[in-house]
Symmetry: C2
Subunit: 244 residues, 2 copies
Amino acid sequence: MEKRKIEVCFTSENIDYFHIRQSHVVVVDILRATSSICAAFANGVKTIIPVATLGEAKKAKQRGLIVAAERNGQKRDFADFGNSPFNFTPERVAGKDVAYSTTNGTRAIVSASGGLSVSIGSFINISAVAKWLVAKQEGDVLVLCAGRKGKFCLEDSIFAGALVELLLKDKSFYTECDSAQAAIQLWNVAKVDLPSYLELISQRHRLKRLGLDDVLQYCFTPNLTDVVPILVNGKLRNANVINE
Amino acid sequence: MEKRKIEVCFTSENIDYFHIRQSHVVVVDILRATSSICAAFANGVKTIIPVATLGEAKKAKQRGLIVAAERNGQKRDFADFGNSPFNFTPERVAGKDVAYSTTNGTRAIVSASGGLSVSIGSFINISAVAKWLVAKQEGDVLVLCAGRKGKFCLEDSIFAGALVELLLKDKSFYTECDSAQAAIQLWNVAKVDLPSYLELISQRHRLKRLGLDDVLQYCFTPNLTDVVPILVNGKLRNANVINE
């Protein structure tokens, strides 16, 4: 069996420098989009429709969908709720279709749509997504960090390192990618004392200023759920439910 | 005095996400462009004209300039020599004007030209460039890693970390930049055993396959020279000579 290559892309704006057609793309936006998407599926959402622009989000609202939308951390007026994983409660989302638009995360998902598959990774489903990727048996893996407006983010990158480290335990995978090596090294620095490490993260301070940092502990807790959201015809569904 | 902000950009393709007008931009392409440029100035070159395209490099040759040009590690036929620091000998370059075009490095220099200043950093002049930046007294600093075709490079990033660490010893500087934090962490992993660390670097293996890895030790030796090449009207000159 051919060995499977792992790469990491630190900002979704750079995805065109990678060949994604032969890769399973795992999209990562730890604070907060991909953590929230996993939370929503853990709470029984039926589908999430990632929409890149606020215009599309407004149209979805007019079509009667539930809409979660934020820009720069703040809920938009027309939306039902914003971008915190705590917004996606079972009461609000179970069995429902939700349109979702965020500053960086949903754009990253849309940019990945040419991949062999597109899945959603976060600490809260890290083992589940790793297991799902291993089970695919073929295809390379690209961990796509959303980053923040074209810039590198520590929180997405340390998650990428944790995921790559997990995948490399399976001998069918290898990496020759500098950003994958860097991500692993950063994760190994971070995991020694994660609470102190999180103090370095610029997005953590931004959320604190906005009074939105209540999600921090949740977003860095591993394996709260075994959902694996994947993109199918423009909608995110839970891979486990599709296969049932 | 206002505190001076330090940021790091991991690939020159992302420079537009940074505000460079108020920043001194330090361009970094350790393997090999910026190491070679510093070597050339250490050997007495008068000016280096960075040209982004091979077309411009050919025109420079027709105008009678000495031309150094490579793509993907290989010297181009029309050029006088390629991209190794060992090519820029005193016999060839002392007192001369040299046009220079490389895959990533010279493009990065050209992309930085809107900065408050543009200087050239490498391990071989690291203390000199740090001292020059401190002496500026105002203006932020952006360390611009050339990267490799839109991708993150370990060698440029660990240099960025080493330089940021040096600058932060001067209390006029601060950073809130995730990529600067990451670069410092990576440099601290790397410096414990640099020769082993270099084995992880993908570009190191590429150069080895091309028989071009003789430059490795040289490019990671700190402070071989005190030159500070800076861009003035489209040409690189040694800042120390200009100020004399």
